[in-house]
Symmetry: C2
Subunit: 328 residues, 2 copies
């Protein structure tokens, strides 16, 4: 009896979920739902169906959890509450500032449908959030540090590509090693935006574009680049394709805290990720939480939850006895 | 309305709990219970009482959670089930192989008393276990690695001190940097005991003892040292006191895994601790889980739990709304 998974949206994230489902022997992919013409979408799992989103309601009794793989800007705020009325759902909503609003909408919908919804699942928000929470609870007297990278920022790459004269481009966010070391040494530095990360851009110019002008425009772009030390490299389309087609990412969450009657002892808690594929890792986290949603739903629970609300054992296919014997 | 904490046992761990309670504004220390004559035990918290263990039952309605700070070999297997009949309890039981048996005993007692017990809380078992579990659930296709140190091993220091001719001694467990790097690089090495850790001993000799004989006896000691590359330094009692009186520890939990349809992408999850004081950090984890025990008990739950069974939000004094707004 395996957990039947539906995927809504078949981009990088949806394909990642398909791969992750294959790695979990207690799960099977039932169907992929797309806004496109289903006949135009080829998936990897021969036993699963490809359907149009309009058919979702026909699958109510054939799917245990729908993993919603849309974008946070416009897709998820609509899709997750809508689907939570009829299905257990998981999403990776990552607009930190709008999480409370999204939570409230999804909670009302999930409760009305007696389903379990888990939002903001992935690595940030997600595993990084969990590590911030655990570390804050253990070391109440301390400082938090989050560094991202080295990795590709989709938003910054998009920003580069909107610059006039740019044909294509990719942006890497890179943590400043000296800042990381200062934190690890327990120096509790106060770090400005510029001191924490640098930005490195690989840009393919349009025929005849002015490189100096493009470089200046990128480096001075407010919000995206002007607060950072930014490097711009001009390369050919072939080089971009050859050396920069991956979607790696990662980062570091640190808490530096003190204990003792007079705060005389220092402690550093560090969590880090080094990911070849940002979407595939996020998908892997989504699948683990899909298992949790399934189990919670079987227990009769409902409503919206986040990673903070899920006991870790729910993520595992193993029993409590097995976990205590082998992983504790 | 703060959470009233009792401490059973006032050694390094008990003192650490006392310091940690002070850092948590929603907690207060009610009493320390000792097997010694209470008048001989001086504590730091002026508002708390020192009592003999025999008085524990008088405190049933005045303490929300007892944090049991005894040893795993003989204290906890008796104390935790006994106290769980009357109190919500936390312990740091760390004999991995006997956890299932301890769990069963404590579970029966806690259920009979309608209390919550959380066992094996600390960093290993504890935070390291949690990280092994999360990482295994996220990356089912992968390998686990746990390294300890650099830090003082109490068991190995005790073993040194039992050698004839040794007056005093301290042993550090040190992870092998090259092994750590190979894991971080995704090489998935198969590591022998010797390849993972080295052991460094600082030994004070008795007057007239044979250094070469002591060194040979330490290095060849089965289970403790014979499977490791061990270094022995002979120092004076003053040097030992000056340079080696701390109880630092720490370590690394890594999972190296693959994702993708054909396992084409590699990922590394790493969690590490660098601790000035092993007992004070463990105490800080115990306090966070004491809050969870208190909240679970208020919800009417009972029985034995481990870190695997506790949703992270229970560790925090903040509400779900606050956590979602600030830490997610």
């Amino acid at each position: 009896m395996s957990i039947k998974i539906g995927i809504l949206g078949y981009g990088n994230l949806g394909r990642g979920v398909e791969c992750a489902v294959k790695q979990n022997s207690d799960m099977e992919l039932a169907a992929v739902f797309t806004r496109r013409d289903p006949s135009s979408v080829k998936i990897l799992t021969s036993s699963a169906k490809v359907c149009n989103v309009s058919e979702l309601n026909d699958w109510k009794d054939k799917i245990d959890v729908v993993i919603i793989c849309g974008g946070s800007a416009t897709d998820l705020p609509v899709q997750t509450p809508e689907l939570a009325k009829s299905f257990n759902v998981i999403d990776s909503f990552d607009t930190h500032a709008r999480i409370p609003e999204h939570f409230a909408n999804v909670d009302a919908a999930a409760k009305s449908g007696k389903n379990v919804a888990i939002i903001s699942v992935g690595w940030d928000p997600g595993m990084f959030s969990l590590n911030r929470l655990y570390a804050n609870c253990i070391l109440p007297d301390g400082n938090d540090y989050t560094f991202w990278g080295k990795g590709v920022s989709q938003g910054h790459s998009d920003a580069i590509r909107r610059v006039e004269g740019v044909k294509n481009g990719k942006q890497y966010t890179i943590p400043v090693e000296a800042a990381l070391e200062a934190v690890r040494n327990g120096e509790n530095p106060e770090l400005t935006t510029r001191q924490k990360h640098t930005r490195e851009c690989f840009v393919v110019l349009e025929e005849g574009a002015d490189a100096a002008k493009v470089e200046a425009e990128i480096k001075n772009m407010p919000n995206y680049f002007s607060d950072y030390d930014t490097t711009v490299h001009f390369i050919s389309e072939e080089e971009l394709e050859r050396d920069h087609s991956g979607i790696p990412h990662g980062g570091f969450v640190l808490r530096s805290g003190k204990t003792g009657w007079n705060g005389e002892n220092k402690h550093i808690i560090e969590y880090s990720l080094k990911l070849d594929s940002n979407p595939e890792f996020t998908s892997s986290v989504l699948c683990a939480y899909a298992r949790a949603a399934y189990k919670l739903s079987k227990e009769g629970q409902s409503g919206c939850k986040t990673v903070f609300d899920i006991a870790p054992a729910y993520l595992s296919a193993q029993s409590g006895d097995e976990l205590r014997a082998h992983l504790l």
